[in-house]
């Protein structure tokens, strides 16, 4: 799995039994919301977090291992386990709602989901558009090639067909890199999802994919594909949880609960379960 993490915190498990202390920062009544034009923003009657009975989590349910669908159509994954635990500690119900990834902004905006929690990479645009949690995982954008490929480093991408998922951070990182100008056609190939891209890599339609390390490794391992993740990586990045702009109370509650889970070793337990080692999930 991805070992490129620094700051591997020791897994001390103090396990304060009281799950959520509910410090109730009642003063956060979110007056920030009023700055949006009220007429246009009808569905914004958000419930403060302490009155919430249920947290609806939106995800593109095909992003293993962060959030995906098992063979019985149950939604599982790292993010699901984390979110479930957070909800338990906050004493509210949990629901995972698979959505079309392209509609995530509208889902959030119209209050049909409360959070996007699906290995979502922090970007400047997203900081602008959403209320983001502190990052809970590090990730790297890596280059995936076939085992027998001649590509051994980023520089070898010159004149090769390189792909990335539309609107992914892999895409923006690739486009920001100096190598981008020299790849074939001077533009990358866009895919709606990783599976399609990986399939095309196996078929030889493309030469390399820039994608999330977490996903790449999981996919290659699970499916025993003859593919490699290059040593040389693009930029490191972070995953965070998004809520609608203005919902600072919700994000703060989640952040706080994740901190507790970090402290009592729950994060490591989940990390061990999904990645085979501790310390992958950390604040």
């Amino acid at each position: 799995a991805c070992g490129s993490n620094d700051a591997t915190q020791p897994a001390d498990a103090p396990s304060t039994d009281a799950p959520a202390e509910d410090a109730a920062p009642a003063d956060d009544a979110a007056p920030a919301e009023e700055e949006q034009t009220p007429a246009e923003d009808a569905p914004s009657d958000t419930v403060p977090v302490e009155e919430m009975t249920k947290l609806v989590l939106g995800l593109d349910a095909s992003f293993p291992p962060m959030g995906f669908t098992d063979q019985d159509n149950n939604i599982i994954g790292v993010d699901i386990d984390l979110a479930k635990e957070v909800c338990t500690r906050l004493g509210i119900e949990f629901e995972a709602k698979p959505i079309d990834w392209a509609t995530k902004e509208m889902e959030l905006d119209t209050g049909k989901i409360d959070v996007i929690w699906n290995g979502m990479t922090v970007t400047d645009e997203r900081k602008e558009a959403f209320e983001l949690s502190r990052s809970y995982m590090n990730n790297t954008q890596v280059i995936v090639v076939m085992n027998d490929s001649t590509i051994a480093s980023k520089a070898d991408l010159a004149d090769k067909v390189v792909a990335a998922q539309t609107d992914s951070s892999g895409e923006s990182v690739l486009m920001a890199d100096e190598i981008y100008a020299s790849i074939k056609d001077g533009a990358h190939k866009q895919y709606a999802d990783y599976v399609t891209a990986l399939n095309d890599l196996a078929l030889g339609r493309i030469d390399a994919i820039v994608m999330d390390e977490v996903v790449a490794r999981y996919y290659i391992e699970q499916n025993a594909q003859p593919m490699t993740v290059l040593e040389e990586t693009l930029s490191p990045e972070e995953y965070a949880i998004a809520a609608k702009k203005g919902r600072t109370d919700l994000i703060e509650a989640i952040d706080k609960t994740l901190d507790e889970m970090q402290a009592d070793g729950t994060l490591d337990k989940i990390s061990l379960q999904w990645f085979g080692k501790e310390g992958m999930i950390l604040r």
Binding site: D41, T69, L198, Y219, Q222
Partner: protein
């Protein structure tokens, strides 16, 4: 992929069949009468009514259903005043959206069907004392339906396939379950299973409509 995996995949995909079937039945039952009303309104004597109905049919047929679903699901709540009451669940949005969409198509089909009803039928009915409404219900509709039935069958088959768009408003259906299965297993077998499921559903549908066509023949 072995047999048991195919079975597992099939079981997962069959979960999508229920929601597709419900949508299909409800939309058909709602949009056919609505379509017929639109047909009648599109021949209304009051010109503005005709314009509105024709514009409606024109816009609905000229734009993708997915965008229409987006507007109902995400857009309606932003309407001033009534918006608050129009926050629909994904499935309700789908019901409304598909019904409004298919009603426009059915309206066009019925318009064609009406043309096939001879002018003499209206005259014979008038001479026999039928009111306008009686003429429509007793004489015109039964004849029109027979003519329109093959096109209605076609449109219904399209509806079965169009149910795949439900996922745009976050209702998981057959194709969605197939996609997630493929992304999990990295094996396109789930698509083959979906293919077969759609084919079976459409075969059943076609058998039902063929039977209906025979029953309505004269």
């Amino acid at each position: 992929m072995n047999m048991s995996e195919i079975l597992t995949t099939t079981k997962a995909l069959l979960q999508g069949v229920e929601v597709v079937t419900i949508l299909f039945v409800v939309v058909l039952i709602a949009s056919i009468p609505l379509g017929f009303v639109l047909t009648l309104l599109s021949r209304c004597r009051i010109a503005p009514v005709r314009w509105v109905v024709n514009a409606y049919i024109y816009v609905v047929r000229g734009t993708p259903l997915m965008l229409q679903l987006f507007f109902i699901y995400f857009g309606l709540p932003y309407l001033p005043v009534v918006g608050k009451m129009l926050v629909l669940s994904g499935f309700s949005s789908a019901l409304v959206g598909y019904t409004l969409n298919y009603a426009a198509y059915f309206a066009e089909i019925f318009r064609g069907g009406l043309l096939a009803v001879d002018k003499g039928q209206y005259e014979a009915a008038q001479v026999l004392g039928f009111s306008k409404a009686q003429t429509i219900v007793r004489i015109v509709m039964p004849q029109m339906i027979r003519v329109a039935l093959p096109s209605v069958t076609n449109e219904s088959i399209t509806l079965v396939k169009d149910t795949a768009l439900m996922y745009a408003v976050a209702v998981p259906e057959i194709l969605h379950y197939a996609k997630v299965a493929v992304s999990r297993t990295a094996n396109p077998m789930a698509f083959v299973v979906a293919f077969v499921i759609y084919l079976i559903m459409n075969t059943i549908l076609q058998l039902v409509f063929n039977w209906l066509e025979k029953k309505l023949a004269y």
